[in-house]
Amino acid sequence: MELILSILIGILFTAAVYLILSRSLLKVILGTGLLSHGAHLLILTMGGLGGTAPPVLIDGVTDFADPLPQALILTAIVISFGVTAVMLVMAYRMYAVHQTDNMNELRGNDEHD
């Protein structure tokens, strides 16, 4: 299962980076969304996907999933939501001010060179 997941993570990262490198700001935001999904699955896979029960102490259960990656991911999910929200609003403001979402036009003017 880890092999499939690893390849899946690779695909998520490939798609995310491809979108981030595109010229449209909207695609960049979509890309960061994919990137965080990839990162969450990466943490999960690193810890191992074994375990037959959730990490909750119940009498008689000894083989449960690794709790540490789960705790890390839980934090990461919430934070990435915050990041996405801020980026979306920034994109909204940016479009309101500059009337474009083309990353090539969104650069310092020539006086800054």
């Binding site: 092999l3 959730p54 990490p55 909204y92």
Partner: protein, 802 residues
């Protein structure tokens, strides 16, 4: 007393200078500053009896003990001689500056701060035994020299000269640092004394020659040797007291000091002897030849300084021969070097001060406008004449003695039979003699054109008159020394020169009195030096009288071939070239920079994984493949494909939601119920947020991306993907250290009294993390609110810097 602290006395005093300058307006700040070099001179002079018997004193203050870096003040014959020059000439220069620098018009606060900073730096250079602190002080002299040359910073030429001197000397300083680092690798110590003790083993080390060349680059740039001398004439834009102090008597001698100090380590190498003697003689000739071309008094003196520094350098090189030949005449050369160094400091310091006085009293330094000043400035004339005649090498002035010793040493080089000297050796006395002729010519040119000849007072900006007596005191003291030394050379020799020579050649002499050299003015008619000097005077006079006839010959050298032009072209070229290079890759687009970052990251990590054999694949530890898991993986891949290739905004958002929900399903499959719940909630809110925001944003567009763009992006993103897959696999397959999860599993009941381990970790073990996470979300919320509520004004500024 820890006298190493005295090195810092000037710079500590410098802290007070601005206050003194602000508060006490009635008295020239220079009077307060004068105390520092005087006190130091008196204190250091008390070391003379100790050093005269071949002794030395050490005082150390730890700085970075773990790296072996310390401020070490090591006083032996050589460093004491330089220390006395720095403080002695320093006192005279400060005294002179009191009358030269106007109390009302000049920013004396800064001036004396720089000057005192320089004094500390210079004392540090000549006393440091630790190469690292030596380097530190060395660069500090470059910086303070930069500040002093650029003191009148409103003038273009001052700034240009300051920058040029710094560029060249700092370049040399860095080379020297390289030499020090190599030496520390070779000898495993930063201490110069310990390196000298290890000298016999260092010679055969493979780095030896490289260290030698690098060290000489440092010395040659600082001491204005060919071809690096070009900064010195431009440095004449500094106020004259600075020129007298830094650019003739002390700082430019730091290179001489360096060569002398490291002679015991490198002196036995033929490269050293050839380079130091050869470059020294070339500089001597070059400087004296071009001195006659100059029309600015200070420029003449600058070229003359270049040439005299070359003379001392060549003598040090010739002195190193005494490691190979025992003939006394080679020991003679080192003695002559130190002797001439003292003489040069005295007469050149005095001449600079006179040039300053002429500038001050007549308003010009252009020798073509000057003439006949003798009748109005008799004292200045006397001092200038003494200095110039000493420089030309005539009796009864000190320069005569050391100049004759120089000629003798050069003649003796013929008898040296190693390193091809038997074939090329004859060149040395010839070049030395021709250079001496030119030295005589420019000395006469300097003093006679200014003070004799026709009076041209109507061309002068101000009506000339003799300088105030205060300004004349310092040059008069120096002129007295010049005459005095001629009559008592052996006293100076015993007190100062012999201890210094012993420090340069510690293996040859047991103590300073073992140096069997007795200086005298008259050697009888058989001496080569006498006839050479007579020849110099005869030809020099002839050349001086015919200057108008041959001076135009200098114009034959086209400007485009000069070294200065080479420097300018190099500076311009590097500025333009680097600008062009950086424009090539600094596009100003975030996208480009991200491309570099992703590409670099994936390439280095993939390369590292395989170079270090870090990639491990352990199939046995993998969990079994399940049907649900595989199906969910296919769903996820399809949704990702939709996100990337979607044509409309809505489709992309829905596909992104699909990705999120299938990730949540994975959490369910892998026994992470808390994650699944959170993910489902967050994903739902996210999709709503996306829909809301995208309503206000334009339709998806490629913005004219070309196939080539897409290919490059694809390659980079694929490599990132591969990199992450490899990292995921190998980090799963090999665990270097056991996971700390076990600790949580073991203690969750006993320590935290909880059952749901994930929840307990979040709110108990890592409670603060969660608290800050909430804080981050709150900040994000405020940011969102702020950005939405902020009014979009009609007229947006185009430049955020305005």
């Amino acid at each position: 007393m820890e006298f190493v602290l005295l090195i810092f006395l000037p710079v500590i005093f410098a802290v007070l200078v601005p206050f003194v300058y602000k508060k006490i307006k009635g008295i020239h700040t220079g009077w307060f500053v004068l105390v520092v070099p005087l006190v130091l001179f008196g204190y250091y002079a008390s070391f003379l009896p100790l050093v005269m018997d071949g002794g030395h004193a050490i005082s150390e203050m730890k700085w970075i003990p773990s790296l072996g870096i310390a401020f070490t003040s090591y006083i032996d014959g050589l460093s004491l001689l330089f220390t006395l020059l720095i403080t002695g000439i320093g006192s005279l220069v400060v005294l002179y500056s009191v009358f030269y620098m106007d109390r009302e018009k000049e920013d004396l606060g800064s001036f004396y701060v720089y000057l005192l900073m320089f004094m500390t730096a210079m004392l540090g250079v000549v006393q440091s035994d630790n190469t690292m602190t030596l380097y530190l002080f060395w660069e500090l002299t470059s910086i303070s020299s930069f500040l002093l040359i650029g003191f009148w910073y409103t003038k273009d030429k001052s700034r240009f000269g300051a920058l040029k001197s710094m560029m060249i000397t700092v370049f040399g300083g860095l080379m020297m640092l390289g030499a020090f680092i190599l030496l520390s690798i070779m000898g495993e110590t930063f201490s110069v004394r310990e390196l000298i003790a290890e000298a016999p083993e260092l010679v055969s080390h493979p780095y030896f020659t490289l260290a030698l060349v690098l060290l000489l680059l440092g010395a040659f740039t600082k001491s204005a040797q060919f071809p690096f001398y070009i900064w010195l004439p431009d440095a004449m834009e500094a106020p004259t007291p600075v020129s007298a102090y830094l650019h003739s008597a002390t700082m430019v001698k730091a290179g001489i000091y360096l060569v002398a100090r490291f002679t015991p380590i490198f002196g036995s190498a033929s490269t050293w002897i050839w380079l130091v003697t050869g470059i020294g003689l070339l500089t001597l000739f070059w400087g004296s030849f071009f001195a006659v071309k100059q029309t600015d008094l200070k420029a003449i003196l600058a070229f003359s300084t270049v040439s005299q520094l070359g003379l001392i350098m060549s003598l040090l090189g010739a002195g190193a021969i005494s490691y190979h030949a025992t003939a006394a005449v080679f020991g003679f050369a080192t003695y002559a070097a130190i002797f001439h160094l003292i003489n040069h400091a005295a007469f050149k310091g005095g001449l600079f001060m006179i040039a300053g006085i002429i500038d001050h009293e007549t308003g010009t330094r252009d020798i073509r406008k000057l003439g006949g000043l003798m009748s109005v400035m008799p004292i200045s004339f006397t001092v200038a004449a003494i200095g110039s005649l000493s420089m030309a090498g005539l009796p009864p002035f000190s320069g005569f003695l050391s100049k004759e010793m120089f000629l003798e040493s050069m003649v003796a080089l013929r008898h040296f039979e190693l390193f091809n000297f038997d074939t090329w050796g004859i060149l040395f006395p010839i070049v030395a003699w021709i250079a001496s002729v030119f030295t005589f010519t420019y000395s006469m040119y300097f003093v006679l054109k200014t003070f004799m000849g026709q009076k041209k007072f109507d061309q002068l900006p101000t009506q000339p008159h003799e300088a105030p007596i205060g300004m004349l005191i310092s040059p008069m003291i120096l002129a007295t020394i010049v005459i005095l030394v001629f009559f008592i050379p052996n006293v100076i020799g015993k007190w100062m020169i012999k201890p210094a020579v012993m420090a340069i050649q510690p293996t040859l002499y047991a103590n300073p009195s073992a140096i069997d050299i007795h200086v005298k003015a008259w050697h009888g008619f058989g001496a080569a030096g006498l006839w050479l000097t007579i020849g110099v005077v005869a030809f020099g006079t002839l050349l001086y009288l015919t200057i108008p006839k041959w001076q135009p010959l200098y114009r034959m050298q086209p400007d485009s071939l000069s070294l200065n032009n080479g420097y300018d072209a190099m500076m311009r070229g590097s500025e333009k070239g680097m600008n062009r290079v950086s424009r090539l890759y600094m596009t100003g687009k975030i996208r480009t920079y991200l491309l570099y970052m992703f590409a670099f990251m994936s390439v280095t990590i993939i390369a590292l994984l395989f170079l270090k054999d870090a990639f491990v694949l352990d199939m046995n530890s993998f969990a079994a493949i399940t049907l649900y898991g595989s199906l969910n993986a296919i769903v996820l891949i399809l949704s990702v494909g939709f996100v990337v290739f979607a044509k409309s905004r809505l489709a992309a958002i829905i596909a992104l939601g699909g990705v999120g929900y299938s990730v949540a399903l994975f959490f369910v499959i892998f026994k992470a119920p808390d994650l699944a719940l959170t993910q489902l909630v967050i994903e739902t809110v996210s999709v709503a947020l996306f829909l809301l925001a995208f309503k206000h944003l334009p339709a998806l567009s490629t913005h004219g991306e070309t196939k080539r763009n897409k290919m490059v992006n694809l390659i980079v993103s694929l490599s990132v993907g591969v990199m992450v897959t490899l990292v995921a696999l190998s980090s799963h397959s090999q665990k270097m250290i056991p996971s700390i999860s076990q600790y949580y599993k073991d203690t969750v009941k006993t320590e935290a009294a909880g059952g749901n381990i994930v929840n307990v970790i979040l709110v108990d073990y890592r409670g603060f993390d969660t608290l800050f996470e909430i804080a981050v979300l709150a900040i994000a919320g405020i940011a969102v609110l702020g950005m939405i509520r902020l009014r979009v004004s009609r007229k947006e500024p185009t430049d955020e810097n305005e």
